[in-house]
């Protein structure tokens, strides 16, 4: 290949190293319109960054599926007792 300019894709003036630091602002809708359009341009030309963002989305989805923490039933019984005591107390 002699003419390299033919093969240089338009990465929106953002490096991949910059992209990975902007991804949360991107997903949160916090990028300025100007940066946002450069970010989108980079994605059209860079498959690894597309993969990276997909992995961030998958990470977030996985976090949302962690099983719930549960508290023992006895804790609820204790709270009910406290509640009843409070309910029967004269208004303070």
């Amino acid at each position: 290949m002699t003419d390299e300019s033919m093969t240089i894709p338009d990465l929106g003036g953002l490096t991949c190293k910059e992209m990975v630091e902007l991804v949360t602002d991107y997903l949160e809708g916090a990028l300025s319109p100007a940066i946002r359009s450069r970010f989108d341009q980079h994605l059209t030309a860079c498959d690894p960054c597309v993969v990276y963002i997909e992995q961030m989305r998958q990470t977030i989805a996985t976090l949302g599926k962690l099983p719930e923490e549960s508290i023992p039933e006895t804790a609820l019984d204790t709270l009910r007792e406290h509640f009843r005591r409070w309910r029967s107390a004269p208004d303070s």
């Binding site: 190293k17 949360t24 602002d25 860079c46 990276y52 997909e54 962690l66 923490e69 508290i71 509640f83």
Partner: protein
Amino acid sequence: MAHQADDDAGLIAALKRRDEAAFVTLVERYQGALLRLALVYCRSLAVAEEIVQDTWLGVIQGIDRFEGRASFKTWLFQILVNRARTRAEREGRAVSFSSLSDEAEAPGEPAVPPGRFRGPDDKWPHNWALPPHSWGESPDARLLADETMELVKRAIATLSPAQQQVITLRDIEGWTAEDVCNVLMISETNQRVLLHRARSHVRGLLENLFNDR
């Protein structure tokens, strides 16, 4: 979670009338999330459960003065955070909880190790040298496997307390940024910085796990 907020109002009114069923519904609704956040402050499950119990006592004691200017959820979690922080301070762990904003404003780790990118003099400076590989077309089975879930739980435990608080509420509990800012009393920007560092770290660990296969 958002759909619950509207519904809380009726329950709060009932709670003010000393309706036990309303109280129990609220406890059941928020208990899991309260415990999860309490566990960020203290590793001991027993202590975390105490903090949650204590929070509900705070609700009972304060509900008559709750005017609904903030959402019930915000108010409830502020009670928890206050109690948990006080307790952490008493146990001499105040330093690590000092200020979320300080941490967000200090330089953090890069999202991806610098060695994954090309150098400044490369033909493609600062672009991928070791790009990420797709986790597959339908990675759900891998992502939802028990092993993955365990790794994610452990990964969160290694984050700084500030990052843990943010990622727990945002991504595990699914809160909005606004609610998280209100409860943790940080700016939107700082919230985003902490979330970014936390998510990036967890992604990196998942990548290591999947690449090792």
